[in-house]
């Protein structure tokens, strides 16, 4: 009988948790309002409120064991939010790279810029295609760019330790195509010179990238003349004149990709159609914002799965910690609860009181954990070898409100499970046995 009851409870629990995961914030709010109304208006609800009040007033005597619930859940939420913030920061960096009104053209079937090659003839055709915006002089706003990699010494690394950085050779119009990119120190490189401007992310990661310094790419010496900031994936790159880069890397007149400014928001289709109908070309076209967002998909999925796996295992530990604490709390108050039931309180208020107490502790834990994750990790800089690029991509952890909310939902779910079984035991314990205990 007990077994049957327990299995039914477990089944219901799974259903409730599944629904909880799906519930949006306004659903939770509605639920909270309905619950508060029930507590304030119905007789049972008022009973539940008063039993909860008694429970909470005795919390201080149990502060040691109650803090186990709070800290256990804070640990889960803190780690979960931090790991998700890593994935969020990574995909955010790529997601805000590019814009709706610029397009990138790659050779057909290329997964990323670095594996694409476009000949000079192709590039001329692409620049003249319909849908490309023109500047005041009537020149198409387009930039044939070349993406390669360079090995540079890592800042703070051991002697001889080198990392890979993405190098982008750009045309004259590159800055027009990326209006959010600004030179923050020094100046832009001069066309035809062996000069580099470096992204502030790359500057943080690699040694010797200050304006005025010289660095070696392979056998050649380049001088760093400026630093740029864009707040997106370009921050991790270093830029130079496309012709000089092509020369250094023996690429002749070919380029890896072409960036163009579209005449207007609807011009993408015109542009696409124009390129598709040209027999000389076999290329893929996408808006730049789409292209960079897609690059982040695989990696951010992996990061998310990692966060949720670690979070789930920790949550199991925390649930059992909460169960332990609440069973002990219920056992300590067994006589008090039995007395309440003896004088006419029904099971529901008792169940609600115990669960409410656990969930309040859980909420507190969730807030503490989220806050800690935010304080410690928000803005933390990390880097990885991103898919589709040839260098390290620097990004900062982003603890967003959505992630904090997700953390709180996890906390409440843990509190719910951890409180349910002790609450049921409290309500189902025969009054006579409980009164005789101790």
């Amino acid at each position: 009988m007990t077994f049957l009851f327990n299995s039914v409870v477990v089944l219901l629990l799974i259903v409730v948790l599944a629904a909880w995961v799906q519930l949006p914030w306004y659903g939770v709010l509605a639920l909270a309002v309905v619950f508060a109304a029930w507590m304030a208006l119905s007789r049972r609800g008022r009973q539940a409120a008063s039993v909860t009040g008694v429970g909470i007033s005795t919390l201080r005597q149990r502060s040691g064991s109650s803090s186990v619930v709070v800290i256990g859940i804070a640990g889960v939420v803190g780690v979960l939010v931090a790991l998700l913030a890593m994935g969020e920061g990574y995909s955010e960096t790529l997601r805000k790279t590019g814009s709706e009104d610029t397009a990138i053209v790659l050779r057909g079937g290329s997964a990323s810029e670095v594996s694409s090659v476009l000949s000079n003839d192709n590039i001329e055709v692409i620049e003249q295609a319909a849908g490309v915006a023109h500047d005041k002089q009537g020149k198409p706003i387009a930039s044939g760019e070349i993406v390669v990699a360079a090995n540079l010494p890592v800042k703070g690394g051991a002697a001889g330790e080198e990392g890979s950085v993405q190098v982008r050779g750009v045309g004259e119009q590159a800055l027009v195509l990326r209006p959010n990119l600004k030179i923050v120190a020094g100046r832009m490189f001069r066309p035809g010179m062996r000069e580099l401007v470096v992204g502030q992310g790359a500057q943080r990661q690699f040694a010797g990238l200050q304006p005025g310094h010289e660095v070696k790419l392979g056998t050649q010496t380049w001088s760093v003349v400026g630093v740029f900031a864009s707040g997106d994936a370009y921050d991790s790159e270093i830029w130079a004149d496309a012709n000089v880069i092509a020369d250094t890397y023996r690429r002749g007149s070919s380029r890896t990709s072409v960036f163009v400014k579209l005449a207007d928001a609807k011009a993408l289709d015109t542009f696409k159609a124009a390129l598709a109908s040209d027999p000389r070309l076999q290329v893929d076209v996408d808006t730049t914002i789409n292209y960079f967002s897609k690059q982040s998909e695989g990696m951010s999925k992996v990061m998310r799965i990692m966060g949720i796996t670690v979070g789930s295992i920790m949550a199991i530990g925390a649930i059992f910690g909460a169960l332990n604490t609440m069973f002990a709390a219920v056992a300590a108050r067994a006589r008090e609860i039995a007395t309440l039931r003896a004088i006419g309180f029904r099971g529901v208020p008792v169940v609600v009181a115990v669960m409410l107490e656990t969930m309040m502790l859980a909420l507190l834990g969730g807030i503490v954990g989220g806050l800690l994750a935010w304080l410690i990790f928000n803005g933390w800089t990390a880097s990885t070898l991103a898919t589709g690029t040839t260098g390290q991509l620097a990004f900062t952890f982003k603890v967003t409100p959505a992630l904090l909310w997700e953390g709180l939902k996890w906390a409440l779910a843990i509190g719910f499970v951890g409180g349910l079984f002790p609450a049921l035991r409290a309500a189902r314990l025969p009054v006579t046995t409980a009164l005789r205990e101790l």
Binding site: G64, S65, S67, V68, I71, G72, G75, V76, G78, V79, A82, L83, G109, S110, A111, S112, V114, S115, V117, V148, A149, A150, N151, E161, E162, G163, S164, V167, L217, G218, T219, T248, Y249, R250, V302, V310, I313, M314, I316, G317, A318, F320, G321, L323, N324, T325, F327, A328, A382, S383, T384, L385, T390, Q392
Partner: protein, 389 residues
């Protein structure tokens, strides 16, 4: 040891509490086991006795630049070099351009450089005689349900054939079986003939160039000198090289990929801090509940010190019991995780080192957690305790 059953009985005095605590501890050590496996798989990559004999030579400029194939003959003449093989990146994808399969175009002796990757003699013979033959990693065969003898289409992200098509057809002639964790990567890749690749690729795309050389040295202790000598061959040319031991090269990649040590370390820090509190609370409760029983023990003549030892032993036993269950569970689950990740993660099973580290942590946590309750039990005054004061 003679008190073991007494300690055991004390531990399971409150079954529910002990079991709930055990599950929490097990969850923490399950996580420890899995994260430690991740850390080790990052640490170990490229580190093996065979790996120490191999040098990798690539372009100094960056990993995407190529080198002339003829450099290999020069490298072979460097004193201390046993054999030289070379390979090129092919950029293969199966079915969808985004579904990448690591594919290398390799010299005929490439696989000789990797004695820890097993290929049957038959497979090697067929590979040598089949122009479009490929050797496929065993994990990859499983993943796509390919069989030996199958013809499969691969797209190259980079290289078109003479006719301009980027769809290549290959015939699977054998499997690569990595026998060591450090080369587990070879279970996930495809090797094709470099000669066929260089012949069949559209003119102007490869021009007899290779991506990197793999050199085996005669004496591991001379690896650094040999590496320097190899780099000296092309100094001041238009194809300067950078030669590293396989271990150093892999470590540098892994470090660029992610600072796994830091991530794993912070997670485990949070987990074990929480665990300390949780188990500490359980032990405090256990001792508080048993005050009178402990007093009885002392009345019977148990010394203060043996009471202290018993409570400490109980807490250590609790943590060790949960911890062993957790790590054992990790050992069972890890193969499933590796398989489930579709080859993305290649985790080693829980090794002796992880067990040792884990058990060390269990003992430490058990002792820390037991100290305060054990101290209390030791200082217990019989008269007060029995009177319930």
């Amino acid at each position: 040891m003679k008190y073991f059953h007494l300690i055991w009985a004390a531990l399971f005095r409150r079954k529910t509490r002990t079991i709930l605590t055990l599950v929490s501890i097990a969850a923490a050590f399950l996580l420890f086991g899995m994260l430690d496996a991740v850390r080790i798989s990052f640490d170990q990559a490229g580190k093996s006795a065979n790996g120490a004999q191999r040098l990798q030579t690539g372009s100094k400029l960056s990993f995407i630049e190529t080198l002339p194939q003829g450099l290999g003959e020069k490298i072979a003449t460097v004193p201390g070099v046993k054999s030289v093989a070379y390979a090129n990146w092919f950029g293969g994808a199966y079915q969808d351009p985004h579904n990448q399969v690591f594919t290398f175009a390799v010299s005929d002796n490439y696989i000789d450089q990797y004695p820890e990757v097993q290929v049957t003699d038959d497979a090697r013979k067929t590979f040598a005689n089949t122009r479009i033959g490929i050797l496929v990693g065993d994990k990859l065969l499983e993943k796509y349900h390919w069989k030996i003898g199958d013809q499969i289409p691969l797209q190259s992200n980079i290289f078109p054939q003479q006719d301009g098509s980027k769809n290549w057809t290959f015939q699977i002639v054998g499997a690569l079986h990595p026998t060591d964790q450090s080369v587990a990567f070879y279970g996930q890749i495809i090797l094709m003939h470099w000669k066929y690749f260089d012949d069949a690729v559209m003119k102007g795309y490869n021009n007899g160039r290779v991506g990197w050389f793999v050199t085996r040295v005669k004496d591991v202790n001379q690896a650094d000198q040999v590496a320097k000598a190899i780099d000296a061959l092309s100094a001041n040319s238009d194809h300067e090289t950078r030669t590293q031991t396989e271990a150093a090269a892999t470590a540098s990649w892994m470090k660029q990929l992610a600072d796994i040590g830091l991530i794993v370390g912070s997670i485990m820090g949070a987990v074990f801090f929480t665990l300390l509190l949780l188990t500490g609370n359980t032990m405090m409760q256990a001792v508080r509940e048993r005050t009178s029983e402990l007093a009885v023990l002392k009345t019977l003549g148990f010394s203060d010190r043996s009471v202290l030892a018993m409570v400490l032993a109980e807490s250590v036993l609790l943590v060790v019991l949960g911890g062993v269950i957790g790590i054992a569970l990790a050992a069972i689950l890890i193969p499933g995780v590796s398989a489930g990740s579709g080859g993305f993660l290649n985790l080693p099973t829980v090794g002796a080192n992880s067990w040792l580290l884990g058990i060390g942590l269990m003992l430490a946590i058990g002792l820390v957690v037991g100290t305060i309750p054990a101290w209390r039990a030791m200082r217990l005054n019989i008269v007060d305790a029995l009177a319930g004061r």
